[in-house]
């Protein structure tokens, strides 16, 4: 029972700190990731190639004109003249900045601010310099100082709004709206509003913002960024990516400045944002072609090539990016990770997918990239889950992967974070880029923190929904399908809904289907992302139950072309979105009637059970836990009443009831490794070894790195007459437990013998005795083999 209590303590520790990881295996996965990357790259945008602030010193304007038109040599000569001329520090700082001497620019800005503590414009520009070197905290501090001196400074607030926008902070929208309310003639504010609208898929709003920007434009300044945003809007509205070279807005930009690579870079970022990585690559190449010194495009291209496993080519571009912009932590982090590429072991397998009514038989290639230290231990299980998911999703969704699929696991969470977002410390578990799944290895987190098998299952579902729609699927549906498949077909089937989702239902905080994406992109309340995952999963569950499963793949296929959630729902299910929302609400009210109506009672019962356990009042705990289960029988999340019931029942001498509680917990999707190990132990003691083995085997998909578990499973499978499974467990034991190779070899010898491979069996038996010559069971088998040979 210690195990169950240990599990409970771990849960206690996790709640509040990492709850989101526990709730959903991929709480910020496929869809949020491009935005995170967008954040990483947005700094170059924030670097602000065009300074719209009217306070910009006049003497810079002639040089700026050459610069904006791409006449680089002429511009440089002009700026150098200013730098060495009798001008004030701000002018010289700007000139130094434009010629790339950032250290000097920094010194001049500092000098300017020192000489006049009340300078606001200099502080704002200095902050922009910091943003251009990816130093957000320092930039924000300087903007804070500027706004303390002048709270209404428009360009200080605009710079701050950009910082917020890059971080997907809802404050950006508020700030921009306030600025435009004060002055509708702020060109830059309209541009920013358009960008945010584009990110959120509000294309008409973006269009309107760009119209207003055009009206507000200063005739003395170039419209390059407006053209670029217009081109992105064209792309968003369905223009073919490959045809963007001929887009009128792109042509206008290039007519103004033939070296304006940023227009292609912006288009590429938009493609990355909507996960169309393949389309982004030629755009980035074009950006570099027209502007070879566009370091951010080199970095983008390097990152994008990595998504396709083109490591050498990626390194070349990242190295170039680093040479031009040594300040980028994302570039440095990625290059460092690439320096350790030899720590990864690559295995590949091909397997056949049988033909179905709609698709012929096909062959799929699956590649695993695992850390060499743990590859041998993890490979069998990762391969199994990945293969099973491909088979299941191919059958369920009628889609066959056409390219090799790759799964990467990282034992160091920061390496994983750098791999997906180029920044450490990002709260992700798994990420899917088209055909590539990248995730934390089970060794990257504490035991019981996440169910890696479910995470992989979830990510593999994304591979299908993204590929089926060429990445057009909205995030709510792809996440919904992934969560739904966790519940229906994953390694821990069961509809798991956590209390905060119930609270959101009670408080009517779920979003209409047409707006559900917003819950993922710009959450308005804590935990809204997690609630949105659950809502999306429940939407899919509702569709399955109300219209039948086949409507889910049909709904996904609606996104083979550009369409909206509203249209897709109406086309597939033949009901208006509003009707769908009403029926969905009714479905929830019915499905969760117990806990919705008696939520406070449920919470009190769960708390009472927990307190009674702490006080060792077992009968009270049993009563309270049963009440909690009766009200909310699907609660297998944190501090599940089933765990408490099992503990109290066992302590009261009712082992069978304790077993029943944990079996039910597992059937509903509970997977806590300590609790399941306890269950397996009890089942063995109750002579229910077949069930025990099955339970223990399931723990491998939550915690596969426990040597004792593999040893037990190896023995149990062998006793059950399943030598193939037994051999796998002993092979993993050998890979995991370098301290005791003799036991693993002996197990392998017996499993191989049971399979009839006597030659390999003898080898492993001798390997075992080589290490441990006095290992009596191995000696006995050796003598038995000799006897058999004589016979």
């Amino acid at each position: 029972m210690k195990r169950i209590m240990a599990a409970k303590r771990r849960k206690d520790r996790k709640v509040g700190k990492e709850k989101k990881f526990f709730l959903w295996p991929c709480d910020l996965c496929a869809f949020l990731r491009p935005f995170v990357f967008f954040l990483a790259l947005a700094s170059t945008t924030v670097a602000q190639a065009i300074d719209y602030d009217p306070r910009r010193p006049d003497e810079l304007r002639a040089c700026d004109d050459s610069y904006y038109r791409g006449r680089d040599a002429e511009a440089r000569e002009c700026y150098v003249r200013l730098l060495n001329g009798p001008y004030n520090s701000v002018t010289r700082a700007e000139a130094a900045w434009r010629i790339g001497d950032l250290q000097r620019a920094n010194r001049f800005f500092r000098e300017a601010v020192r000489s006049n503590q009340r300078l606001i414009h200099a502080r704002v520009r200095w902050a922009r310099l910091y943003l251009s070197t990816h130093q957000y905290a320092d930039a924000q501090k300087l903007l804070g100082e500027a706004l303390e001196l002048s709270p209404n400074d428009v360009y200080g607030r605009l710079a701050l709004a950009q910082v917020y926008a890059d971080r997907f902070d809802g404050e950006a929208q508020r700030l921009i709206e306030a600025l435009l309310q004060e002055d509708d003639g702020l060109f830059e504010a309209h541009l920013l509003a358009a960008r945010m609208a584009l990110e959120a898929g509000r294309l008409d709003d973006a269009d309107r913002s760009l119209d207003r920007a055009a009206k507000a434009a200063d005739s003395k300044l170039p419209l390059l960024e407006l053209y670029s945003a217009r081109a992105t809007l064209d792309l968003a509205r369905g223009r073919d990516s490959a045809a963007m070279l001929k887009d009128p807005w792109v042509m206008r930009a290039l007519n103004y400045n033939a070296h304006y690579g940023a227009v292609f870079e912006s288009l590429a970022r938009f493609e990355v944002m909507r996960r169309r990585y393949a389309e982004a690559t030629p755009l980035l190449r074009k950006a570099i072609e027209v502007q070879p010194t566009l370091w951010s495009a080199h970095a983008d291209l390097g990152a994008n090539l990595l998504r396709f496993g083109e490591i050498d080519a990626a390194r070349v571009h990242l190295q170039k990016a680093y040479e031009g912009d040594p300040y980028s932590p994302t570039t440095v982090n990625t290059l460092r990770l690439l320096d350790r590429v030899n720590e990864i072991e690559v295995t590949s397998t091909r397997f056949a997918l049988p033909s179905t009514a709609t698709a012929p038989a096909a062959e799929v290639e699956l590649r695993l990239r695992l850390n060499t230290r743990e590859a041998a231990a993890l490979q069998p299980y990762v391969m199994e889950i990945a293969r099973d998911s491909i088979v299941a999703f191919s059958r369920r969704y009628g889609y066959r992967p056409t390219r090799p699929l790759t799964v990467e696991l990282y034992p160091n969470h920061d390496d994983f974070a750098v791999r997906v977002a180029a920044l450490p410390g990002i709260g992700l578990l798994g990420v899917t880029f088209g055909d590539l799944v990248v995730m934390d290895s089970p060794s990257g987190r504490a035991t019981g923190d996440f169910h890696w098998g479910t995470t992989l299952w979830h990510e593999m579902a994304h591979v299908f929904t993204l590929s089926m729609t060429d990445n057009r699927i909205p995030r709510w549906l792809s996440e919904g399908i992934s969560v739904f498949e966790e519940w229906r077909t994953g390694p821990t089937p069961g509809v798991v809904i956590t209390p905060d989702v119930i609270v959101a239902m009670r408080e009517q905080r779920l979003l209409p289907i047409a707006d559900l994406d917003a819950g993922f992109i710009r959450p308005q309340y804590p935990n809204q992302v997690q609630v949105s995952y659950a809502q999306a999963g429940l939407v899919c569950l509702f569709i399955e139950q109300r219209w039948g499963f086949e409507q889910l793949p049909a709904l996904v296929r609606q996104f083979e072309r550009e369409t909206t959630a509203r249209e897709a729902i109406e086309n597939t299910l033949k009901v208006p979105a509003e009707t769908f929302d009403r029926e969905f609400q009714a479905f929830l009210q019915q499905r969760y009637a117990g806990v919705l109506n008696r939520f406070d009672e449920w919470r009190r019962a769960a708390q009472a059970a927990s307190k009674a356990i702490e006080a060792e009042r077992w009968e009270d705990a049993i009563g309270a836990a049963r009440t909690a289960i009766e009200i909310h029988p699907e609660d297998v999340a944190d501090d599940s009443a089933y765990l408490l019931l099992a503990l109290a029942s066992d302590k009261s001498g009712r082992r069978n009831e304790a077993i029943d509680a944990l079996l039910r917990y597992r059937r509903l999707g509970g997977w806590e490794p300590a609790a399941l190990r306890q269950l397996a132990g009890w089942l063995v003691q109750a002579n229910r070894t077949a069930e025990a083995t099955e339970v223990l085997a399931a723990v491998n998909y939550a915690d596969p790195l426990d040597a004792v578990q593999h040893r037990q499973l190896g023995e149990q499978w062998l006793a059950a007459g399943r030598p193939e499974e037994s051999l796998r467990e002993f092979q993993v034991l050998l890979a995991l437990d370098s301290h005791d190779p003799a036991t693993a070899h002996f197990g392998m010898a017996r499993a191989l013998r049971a399979q009839g491979d006597l030659v390999a069996s003898r080898r492993h038996l001798l390997d075992s005795l080589e290490t441990a010559p006095h290992y009596k069971p191995a000696q006995a088998l050796l003598l038995q083999m000799i006897e058999e040979r004589k016979e």
């Binding site: 060794s443 990257g444 987190r445 504490a446 035991t447 923190d449 790195l705 370098s738 301290h739 005791d740 190779p741 003799a742 003898r762 080898r763 001798l766 005795l769 080589e770 290490t771 441990a772 010559p773 006095h774 290992y775 009596k776 191995a778 000696q779 006995a780 050796l782 003598l783 000799i786």
Partner: protein
């Protein structure tokens, strides 16, 4: 059937055996259960390193006593007090099985582990142990490091690393093992290093000051067969240290915590120093017939060592064939030994 003599009995006959070892030749070509001693026979290091632990078992049983002192320091709070006391109990049990007598195992814990008691116990140990004996001192609890000096936290005044070094150095035993499982123990490692002494510290330096996990796993290594890599029922320092170190690392990893302790070990031939014996290895016999079987087993073990040494020069098939031949002989012999000396049923 030969009657197995309990370890305690064998140790009580120590005087006789010491007399016997004195008569042994310098190089023991034909080891026998009753007389071989790696010390008395002065085996060359190359030979000694190839000796199987079983051979060493019988060697150590026959020539000298092993004394164990376990000091469980100040816990500071009830949880630690309880944990340290439990660890001390487990280690004492293992030590009694190893030494074969309660008399050679001393445990100081709780209020009884104050500075004076520890000093007295170490002085008594110095008086009792002979040069041929083995001494194991295990320190459990909290340690501290002020940047200059390590201190073992005890009720009342602490003992410093240099004070303890003086007390350790007074012990004449040529085979010493000091296991310092306390926090900050790495600070004392170099100060206690000496020829003939193996020193283990739970931490790499005095800077690792968090309460350690090493003692818990060291105790597990000595009281279960999990650490027994070669399945001979004997746990050597190497096996126990590797096991405990590995388990400590795993425990931090499973909790996704940065490890706050990294053990270290200094000293020669830890694979030859036994710290625990269990099962059949905990028993000895004076039956000449059984002794002859064991002597034959030692001979086969040497043959096995020879095959292993040739491994790099042999084709895989040839190697396994040779290995097979020797291992079959060993297994058949073990069958004979088991027939006359059956395993005890717990």
């Amino acid at each position: 059937m030969a009657v197995a003599v309990e370890v305690g009995e064998a140790v009580r006959k120590k005087g006789d055996r010491l007399q016997a070892t004195g008569d042994r030749p310098e190089v023991c070509d034909t080891p026998s259960f009753s007389g071989l001693s790696p010390v008395a026979c002065r085996l060359s290091p190359s030979i000694a390193s190839r000796l199987s632990p079983f051979l060493l078992l019988f060697a150590s049983l026959t020539h000298a006593a092993t004394h164990s002192l376990i000091i469980s320091g100040l816990g500071g709070e009830s949880g630690y007090e309880k944990r340290f006391a439990e660890q001390a109990d487990r280690l004492a049990g293992a030590a009694r099985q190893l030494t074969g007598t309660d008399a050679d195992t001393t445990v100081l814990s709780g209020a009884g582990a104050d500075r004076e008691s520890v000093r007295r116990a170490l002085r008594e140990l110095a008086a009792k142990a002979t040069a041929d004996d083995a001494v194991i001192v295990t320190l459990i609890g909290h340690g501290s490091f002020d940047g200059v000096q390590y201190g073992l936290n005890l009720p009342g005044p602490d003992l410093t690393a240099s004070e303890l070094a003086t007390l350790f150095d007074a012990i004449p035993a040529r085979h010493q093992l000091i296991v310092n499982a306390t926090s900050a123990s790495g600070a004392a490692l170099d100060a206690w290093k000496r020829d003939g002494r193996i020193v283990i510290a739970a931490t790499k330096s005095g800077g690792e000051r968090t309460a350690t996990r090493f003692a818990e796993h060291w105790a597990a290594a000595l009281t279960t067969l999990d650490a027994d890599v070669n399945k001979d029922d004997i746990i050597t320092v190497t096996e126990a240290y590797d096991y405990a170190t590995r388990k400590v690392a795993e425990s931090f990893k499973s909790e996704a915590l940065l490890a706050t302790e990294h053990s270290r070990m200094v000293g020669a031939e830890p694979a030859r120093f036994q710290v625990s014996r269990m099962g059949t290895a905990a028993r000895v016999t004076t039956d000449p017939a059984v002794n002859a079987l064991y002597a034959e087993r030692v001979r086969i073990e040497r043959e096995l060592d020879g095959v292993r040494e040739r491994k790099p020069s042999l084709q895989a098939d040839a190697y396994y064939d040779e290995l097979d031949g020797v291992l079959v002989k060993l297994a058949l012999l073990q069958r004979q030994i088991d027939a006359v000396q059956p395993e005890e049923v717990p």
